[in-house]
């Protein structure tokens, strides 16, 4: 339910609605002029969080010292290890395995299945539970060029154009080539894709696609996929060992600077342990919970970019870690669902963004970064609506959807969204939604090739933790695809390497010792550590009274 003071603004939205409905009936989606190239540039420069002067800076330590990164990432990387190295015994491994996989979203779990099929011993470690990931939360769909009028080459063009031609070509080729194979792999495991009576996929268009290519499983696409993959991991418990509530805090390197294992930390019994591994796959996901630029996020509780921290410390190179995707429409009210993603489809089927006076101010379907910037501009100009907790947003006028398309459209097309708001006494068929851009996706990550290899022998990366697949802008439906394609590739190549070598070699943390020294030279306080592991939402006045109150990030 909206508070009393918002009613005046809601009334204004209602009063302009008949005219806007008329406009939509007359002009379809073109209810407001689209921006030209110059206007886009201005709105982005003035408002997009990435374009702010302090949004990016040079990182002062590590293998990419001098590279421009998102400020919060540079901050995270200029920190110490969580391990007290002087008193840490590395002489004996607690567990040995062929392949260690870090992170259990759809990328990590796909890698586990494939590596175990190749005959490798697999250890899957995750700091929360199997499947706890952004993979589980995706609603919209997964792209693959499997229709007669489509082809992997057409998909390739869409991906690289959407990414502003910054994408790594070999990765785009892998993505589009393996896309139909991945959908087939999922279909064979029993994922319930939306199909017609003859079995062909019901596909839709997405932002930036030149064909209908979006496969879906109702509006729970990510969950439908992730649940099946997880079930398969459970079924292979004789071949895939897994450890939950087990975070990785450092990688171990041998004298040849190859990966030889990792240091694990159990979140509850607070013990470190050592795993020796011939190959290591990092599938730790993105950084939404670092709340870049103070933004709310659509991401999972565990999205703290842990893999970026320990892989960088071990010498892995980064790519495009200066690029952040903000989705224009995150919920900003009610308080309980701030940051929650309100799918692009809402605007796609007729909802209009309007300001506090009920006025249109932007074409509803600009590219994500442009649309988000226009929302921010409107709020900064004092034409947004304030929430009780001091956040600002603009209205997304949803009642228009049923008025334009006929009663029952919202119920049929947006059931999850309708249910979500009904839980808080808001009927989006009757009243608009209050939205603001939300931190959605880590466009960059660790630099890999099309075998998921990094510059460190034995270290593989898959999923959102990688950089280069999507350039500086990912299209809808290509992340669900990327985690399957590169998860599987990482599993294959990591298993092959593990089977080709006798022994992982010795285990050292020398790289961490020298990294710590670099950090110390900057004069960084000793209590700044990474990986972050979990975000910290305890209020300051409470934390001030707690045993450890000065840690960077988590108390763990």
């Amino acid at each position: 339910m909206y508070p009393e003071y918002m009613q005046e603004s809601i009334k204004k939205v209602e009063s302009t609605r008949p005219d806007r409905l008329e406009l939509a009936r007359k002009l379809g989606k073109m209810i407001y002029p689209g921006m030209n190239e110059q206007e886009r540039e201005v709105v982005l420069n003035d408002n997009h969080p990435d374009y702010k002067a302090d949004a990016r800076r040079e990182v002062k330590v590590g293998p990419d010292k001098g590279m421009i990164l998102t400020t919060e990432i540079a901050d995270m990387l200029e920190t110490y290890s969580r391990i007290d190295i002087d008193n840490f015994d590395l002489s004996k491994a607690d567990i040995e395995t062929d392949v260690l996989i870090i992170g259990a979203g759809s990328a990590g779990m796909s890698a586990a299945i494939v590596a175990s099929e190749k005959g490798a011993d697999v250890l899957l470690a995750t700091k929360l539970r199997l499947g706890d990931s952004n993979s589980m939360m995706a609603q919209g769909g997964i792209q693959a060029a499997d229709q007669a009028d489509d082809s992997p080459a057409i998909h390739y063009l869409d991906v690289i154009g959407g990414g502003h031609f910054d994408n790594k070509p070999e990765l785009v080729k892998a993505l589009v080539n393996d896309a139909p194979l991945s959908i087939k792999w999922l279909e064979d495991m029993g994922v319930m894709f939306d199909k017609d009576d003859t079995g062909n996929m019901k596909v839709k268009a997405g932002g930036g696609t030149s064909r209908n290519r979006m496969h879906s499983a109702r509006d729970y696409t990510g969950a439908a996929i992730c649940k099946v993959i997880r079930d398969e991991v459970y079924n292979r418990k004789d071949k895939i060992k897994y450890l939950e509530y087990t975070a990785i805090v450092e990688l171990l390197l041998n004298d040849k600077k190859e990966v030889s294992g990792a240091v694990m930390y159990h979140l509850e019994n607070k013990q470190f342990s050592i795993v020796k591994a011939k190959s290591v796959i990092v599938a730790t996901g993105g950084f939404g919970r670092l709340h870049i630029r103070g933004f709310e996020t659509s991401n999972h509780y565990g999205a703290t970019a842990d893999g970026i921290a320990f892989a960088y410390r071990a010498g892995a190179h980064l790519l495009y870690m200066d690029s952040v995707q903000y989705h224009p429409t995150g919920a900003i009210f009610p308080e309980q669902i701030v940051g929650f993603l309100c799918t692009e489809k809402i605007r796609g089927i007729g909802a209009q963004p309007v300001n506090k006076d009920g006025e249109l101010f932007v074409y509803p379907l600009e590219p994500r970064d442009v649309e988000a910037s226009a929302f921010i501009r409107e709020c900064n100009a004092g034409r947004g609506i304030s929430t009780p907790s001091g956040l600002k947003g603009i209205w997304l006028d949803t009642p228009l959807i049923d008025q334009i398309n006929g009663e029952g459209t919202i119920e049929k097309e947006l059931p999850a969204m309708l249910r979500q708001y009904q839980r808080f006494g808001i009927d989006i068929r009757e009243v608009p939604m209050l939205v603001y851009p939300t931190l959605h996706y880590q466009n960059g990550g660790i630099d890999i090739n099309d075998k998921c290899e990094t510059n460190i022998p034995g270290l593989y990366v898959a999923g959102e933790a990688t950089g280069g697949v999507h350039g500086r802008n990912r299209l809808m439906g290509n992340s669900q695809l990327d985690i399957i394609v590169f998860g599987k590739r990482a599993g294959i190549y990591a298993a092959e390497r593990a089977q080709s070598i006798e022994d992982a070699g010795n285990m050292t943390l020398d790289h961490v010792i020298s990294y710590n020294e670099e950090v110390a030279e900057l004069g960084i306080e000793r209590n700044k550590v990474s990986p972050v592991i979990l975000p910290d939402y305890i209020p300051d006045h409470v934390k001030a009274k707690q045993l450890i109150n000065e840690y960077n990030g988590t108390l763990i």
């Binding site: 693959a144 499997d146 194979l181 030149s210 729970y220 439908a224 079930d231 509530y245 309980q336 839980r423």
Partner: protein, 228 residues
């Protein structure tokens, strides 16, 4: 929070704390100083990690819900359920069939359903849990898969079931059986997969990989758009 923030009292596992009105159960825990590890996940209602029970003032009933979606009320008792130790048999999808017999072998408890509907009442997703269990008993796997599709595997159904059925695990099996054996397979997909394996697109893709940026830009902006 604004200065006028109204506070309510909640009992966190028995102990009283004041938290802002409108907090979710998860938010109330955090405001009280708990950094959560178990019993918290996506925080958007998709993952089922935060399923829990609570009791409201003056009510004798313990209700179930998701911690990230349930708003606290004054004098509510809140708790966390760290783990649901449910039975999960293993199986090879290639070796089982989409019928009641499979469930008889793997989840015999399903056939002990007493139709009390407690599972349905416990479900925070409003799924007709008992109906899909009954569908499994009838051997209607398609119906069971469809009815259970929105399950987020929070485990509240199994925790409340007097017949000790593990509904949410039976649900994923029904869905996989439907997806693999009952839903018709996509012929277009299979044809495309075969083309890729035969290398039909290899040259075209390699040409794109090696293409100069400007040529790629021209090609992109002049590409035909065929969407509906």
């Amino acid at each position: 929070m604004s200065d006028a923030q109204k506070m309510v009292k909640v009992y966190v596992m028995g102990e009283a704390y004041m938290v802002p009105e409108g907090s979710t159960i998860i938010g109330a825990f955090e405001y009280a100083g708990f950094q959560l590890k178990r019993g918290v996940g996506c925080r958007e209602g998709f993952c089922g990690a935060c399923a829990t029970v609570y009791r409201e003032k003056g009510d004798y009933k313990m209700k179930g819900g998701l911690g990230c979606q349930t708003v606290v009320t004054d004098e509510m008792y809140i708790a966390q359920i760290p783990f649901v130790p449910a039975d999960k048999p293993t199986y090879k999808m290639e070796e089982i069939t989409p019928d009641a017999g499979t469930f008889m072998n793997l989840y015999p408890s399903v056939f002990r359903c007493v139709s009390c509907n407690t599972c349905t009442k416990a479900c925070p997703q409003d799924i007709q849990v008992m109906d899909y269990i009954q569908a499994i008993i009838r051997g209607d796997i398609a119906e069971a898969a469809s009815l259970s599709f929105d399950c987020i595997r929070c485990g509240l159904c199994a925790l409340r079931c007097p017949a000790e059925i593990v509904q949410f695990n039976a649900a994923i099996l029904a869905q996989r059986l439907y997806g693999k054996y009952i839903a018709p397979q996509s012929k277009e997909l299979e044809a495309r997969v075969n083309e890729i394996i035969e290398g039909k697109y290899e040259k075209e893709l390699n040409d794109l990989v090696g293409m100069a940026k400007q040529e790629l830009i021209d090609k992109y902006y002049s590409r035909e758009i065929k969407i509906s």
